[in-house]
Every structure is written in structure tokens, then in C-alpha cells.
Symmetry: C2
Subunit: 400 residues, 2 copies
Amino acid sequence: MVHLTHLECPRCGEKLDPTELQNLCPCGAPLLVRYDMEAMKKDVTRADLETGRTDMWRYQKMLPVPTEDIICLGEGMTPVIEAPVLGKDLGVGQFLIKDEGTNPTGTFKARGASAGVSMAKHLGADSVAMPTAGNAGGAWAAYAARAGMDCFIAMPEDAPELTMKECDLFGAKTYLVRGLISDAGAIIKRAVERYGWFDVSTLKEPYRIEGKKTMGLELIGQTGWEMPDAILYPAGGGVGLIGIWKAFEELEALGFIGSERPKMIAVQAEGCAPLVRAFEAGERDSEFWQGAETMAAGIRVPKALGDFLVMDAIYESGGRAVAVSDAEIMEELYKTARMEGMFICPEGAATVAALRKLVADGYLGADDRVMTINTGSGLKYSYVVDIDLPVLDIDDDIEL
Amino acid sequence: MVHLTHLECPRCGEKLDPTELQNLCPCGAPLLVRYDMEAMKKDVTRADLETGRTDMWRYQKMLPVPTEDIICLGEGMTPVIEAPVLGKDLGVGQFLIKDEGTNPTGTFKARGASAGVSMAKHLGADSVAMPTAGNAGGAWAAYAARAGMDCFIAMPEDAPELTMKECDLFGAKTYLVRGLISDAGAIIKRAVERYGWFDVSTLKEPYRIEGKKTMGLELIGQTGWEMPDAILYPAGGGVGLIGIWKAFEELEALGFIGSERPKMIAVQAEGCAPLVRAFEAGERDSEFWQGAETMAAGIRVPKALGDFLVMDAIYESGGRAVAVSDAEIMEELYKTARMEGMFICPEGAATVAALRKLVADGYLGADDRVMTINTGSGLKYSYVVDIDLPVLDIDDDIEL
């Protein structure tokens, strides 16, 4: 049932053995998981994709994990919510929000953690280690706990306190760092060399992408097998966008879709927009963004290891990379809550702000069916919301 | 497709018209929704219950809402997670956790709000009003926003700040009250009389139960149509337990299950245990609990309007009502996180603590397949977790 054949470097073409724990290609690029697509094609039916489990493991035949090693907390099969009021306000034909906030641990990071921890366990790792800006740490700590593995996490001391609590609660050895996520990464790198832990930093192991890929598998089935005209994605490390793109390639190889693709749109913050700068220069590789700053912590990534894979998807699909301001993010976060009843995360709100710009540019409009990925629940970001509510005594009445 | 026939009082038998907005029966009891079970039986197939939508509206044929009035944010179809490590630690044969934390707004309240707001809209209401301890307010505010309805909420000023933020963010007119939820309820009652809003306080409208009923419909399908031996439920208002019990009755009437039932176990806190006191006295009605106090806010309900319905289910199933301490709750909250990677809510943790007592009593044990309902995500209760983490400078190394 598992059709995994090898790991492949998308930069230099090197092939690596998937029966051992692997990190990066010797050339320094992240590795992609490859399958026997002919065998998969014989094995996977339409019914496999449309019925059965109501989590991401419905797609197990397109994933690398044997049944007995699946570490599952109910991740995936998140809803695609039509947002008619907001869509009209934005000026697009149809606006769909895939709401990843209903995952365990409240974000899309659960998908990558489920696939990554499952494979780490399958391949015999007894510990995982990573730096995190917050949400990935919470997710990997949860799945590691469930797998009975040790987990070591380093995070900036200004990361959201809620995610620190998650890591500690799940029993991960959690260290705060007086510095940036890159500094936390350096500490983890030294510790991994010293203690022999398995390094599961973003894209430093190949299976997180496979978990994220399930977003792409789901969204096509959920939209009646009709590709949206555009997909907006808040790109920090960009793993989700890479995964969705990979899903489309594999679905085409299996004959479930044709060669059509949505415009893939990477959304970043004005205070940290290395992919946008690369796009504007027509480059495949991005440059490290100095002084990265935005309240949307998930897209505060100065240089992504998989930047060239994100750029490939953008260029091949006729997509774009767009930057928005923190003020625009907050405005759309409120609008989405009031118009549609959804408390989306700042990264998700960034994609709404980007869409408004793309409609103003005439790039998208009333003829377009547009989907955005809300990568997490706003409940994990409640610190961005301020309140000042009236207080009543028990004998007071509500006066309008 | 909608088989709704009437509303019925389970206390006095009165029948009421479901084509109008209704609150309580004139006798003061909550109303139950009744259907044409013969017509439903002809209409509902096994496939309807096992395939299709991956939210609670899969069960639309057993619900009162016409398709065009469904207000949906992807609620329901929450995972049933097996917890083998914790189950062994507890000493039961199999331990299953139905995790309601993956609902929109992070709790099971989304189900009741989806059904309730949908029907309020269907019947022409343009506003809803309620007192809340927190989570119900967040959920109803979200669904009201999505339905384009006004929402008025009163909550104690010591309710969790996160839920206040939710209500305000979703555009509900939100009032804090220097008092208890009962004081907030009195303020809403006066305002409802004055302004003509539709009162959607717990069990004061009939449709919230129908939303909660879907938990019962789901859990049977998710466990291969084999009833668990016992279901533990944290009972504040008890609506979920009433709903699950109603699901079983209707599934039996449709011929999908027999007359077997799990032992229904209501779990409360030692500081607020009116149902436990009623159970110990063999009574059907509970008495108002003076000085209610527990950190599990969702079960800090001194007197439930539907207490007699909860007690009926307990007695008919050979179940129990059990009280646990706040210290026991916190202990199980940590154990569940570390053993299974799940950040459950204090109310959910209360059921784990209760199960430990019931095993110690010999009431449940190694032969039993036990399910508990985790009513919400721990992410909404992060204030119960304290952390004290080591801080590193960027040149420091992790020392074990």
C-alpha cells in the first residue's frame, strides 16, 4: 500500500535512500518524496479520495507512512468555507476560505507534524529537535508526545506565550532564546550534532511536505474537482504552497486532474518580503531579508530553504508574490470576523489583504473563483485583539 | 427532506408549533424537537450516515434545518482519538476521546450555535441574546455574524478574556457584569422583554439540543456502530448529554441500533455538583448549588434547566454522576497532554479524573470500552497552565 520509492533533490537531482533518516541533500537543498506513480495509479481510486476517513489519512495511499506507524490526532479534512459577504466586498466571483484553524493544536502545522513524526518513528528515531517561532513547536511537541518520542525545542523569548505553554505541557524540553529564530536554529544545530537527535527543522527532513500536501489533495475534492482560479497562501517557509503544488502534480500523474493549475500567490508582510523581492526581480532564489518585522509571526521568515520551489510554482502558474502591511492585516482580520464569523489568524488575514490589492490591480475579479488558506485559528493570536467593553452592575439595564 | 413535525415538552407533554419562534413550554420546561420518524426512516439510509459531508450537516435528514438556511462554519465530525497509553494507565480496556476542540471557535458550543442560529434565521429572527460563561458566547456571536443577525451577550466580568475578545471581534454587543452568570441572565431577560430580541439562553430555545445531538450520531458511526460501554460527559447545563441520548433514541427508532445503551456518566466538580447530589438522593430534579466554585467554568452551573433530562438518561442507562476536585482535573490535564499529545480543556480533564475514580470503585475496568467527550480545546484555557522555562543566550549550548 505504501508506494514510496526514493527521496530526490529538486536542486541537483541526487537520489537518496528513504529507508534511513535523512535531512538535506549533500548539496544543501531540501529533499522531495518520490513514489512509484504507476503502482499508485493502479491502487488509488476516486472512491479512495472521496470517501472513508475524515482526516488527512484518507489519502494514505499517496503518503509514505505504513498504517501501523501513523501518529494521528484527527488532523486534516478542514472545511472549505464559502465567504459570500466578504467575497462581494472584495469583488471576486466566489471567495473560499480553507480553514486550517480546526486542526489539532489550532494550525496547519499539525499536518506536517503528523507525517513527520510518523516517519521519524517508522525509521527508528527516538527524539526530534527543532527551532520554532511557535506553532510548529506546539504541533511537533504534541505528536512527539503521542509517539512516545523525546522532543527538544528552542524558540525566541518573544514567541507567543501560548505556544511556549503548549510545548512545555506536551513534555518537550523547551528553551527560550534571547534572539531570533535563526539564533534558536543555531543552538539546535549544535545540540543535534552533540546529542544525535533527529533534526526536524523546516524542510530539513522530507516528510513535513507530504503532510502539507494533503491540503492540496483535500481542496480539490472539496471544490467538486474544479480547480479554483487562484490560491493565496501566506508564505513564510512556504512548505504549504510547495505541498499543495506537489499534490496537483501527483493528482495529474494519477489522471484525476489535467494540466490546468490555479494561479499560485505567495503572500508576505511588507516588513519581511524576500519572496516578493525575488518575484519582482524575476529570480528563482531569494536573499536574506535584514531586519524582518511583522506581527504575523508565521511569515516572519527572512530566507526560506525552499524558496526556489515556491518561486517555481509561482512562475509556472502565472502567479504572483504580494506584500501587505500589518495595518491592512488587522483590518481584514476584523472584516472577516464581522462579515463571516471566522476568527482567522494574521497570516490568513494577510492573504485577504493581498486579494484586495490584486482585485484593485485588475489581476483578479468578478469572474474568478478564489481560495485562500487560513493557516491557523485566531484563538492562538488573541493578543492582537484589544477590547474595551461596558461593565454593568447587576441592577443595571442594557441601554441601546 | 426536513421531517420536523412539532415541539414537545418532556415535562408536561404539551405540543408547540415549530413554525414560530418558541422558548420554554408554558410549564417552564425546555422543549424537545420531534420528527415524523416513519418518514425519516424511509428517507435515511446507512450511506447517509457514513458518507458525504465531513461536518455535522452530514446528518441533515435528522435535523430541522432546510438546506438554504444552514449557517455552517465546518462544525462537527470531530475525531474520536484512541488514547492507549492513558487508557492503560487508567485501567480500562479501551479509552476513546471524542475531541470537540477541533470545532470552529474551539468548543462543542459550535454545534448548538450552528443549529440554533440556522433555525432562528429560518424562523425570521433578526437578533439573538444570551448570557454566557464564555464559550457559548463566542460560538453564538460567530454564527450570528455569519447569519447577518444582531447578537447581544452578557457575561460575568471574571469570564475568560479570550471569550470576551471573541464576542467583541464577531461584532456582538457585549456587556460585562459585576456578578454571576445568573445575574447576567437576569439582565438579558429584562432586555429581551424590552427590546424583543430572541432569547437563546441555554435550553430556552429548542434547537441547540439538535446541534449537540450530532455528537451522538457521529460517535456511533466512528466506533463502527458498536456502542461504547460507557460515555463520560462533563455536565454543566447538560445539553450535550441530553443531545447524545436523544441521538440514540432516534437511531433506534430508525433501526440503526438496538435498545442497548452505554452507561451515561455525568461529571461535575466538587465545588458545584447539583446533579451528583440529586443522583445520590435518587432524585430527578436537582437543587440550586450555593457558592458554586471550580476552575472548570463550563461546569460551574448551579442549577440546570434540563437537569431532569440528564437524570433520566443516567437512571435509564445504569449510569452515575461523579464529582472531582480541581486538583484532580489539573493532574489529568497534564497526564493527557504528556501521554497522548492532547491539550484537553479542564471540563474534559474532569471526565478523565472521574473515570479514574470509577475504575477504583470497580464500576468500570479492563473489560470496558469507554468514551469521553472533551468539550473544548485547551487552547482556550491556556491561563490554567504555568511555565518556567530556561532562557539561553545565543552563544549558550543546551546542557542536559
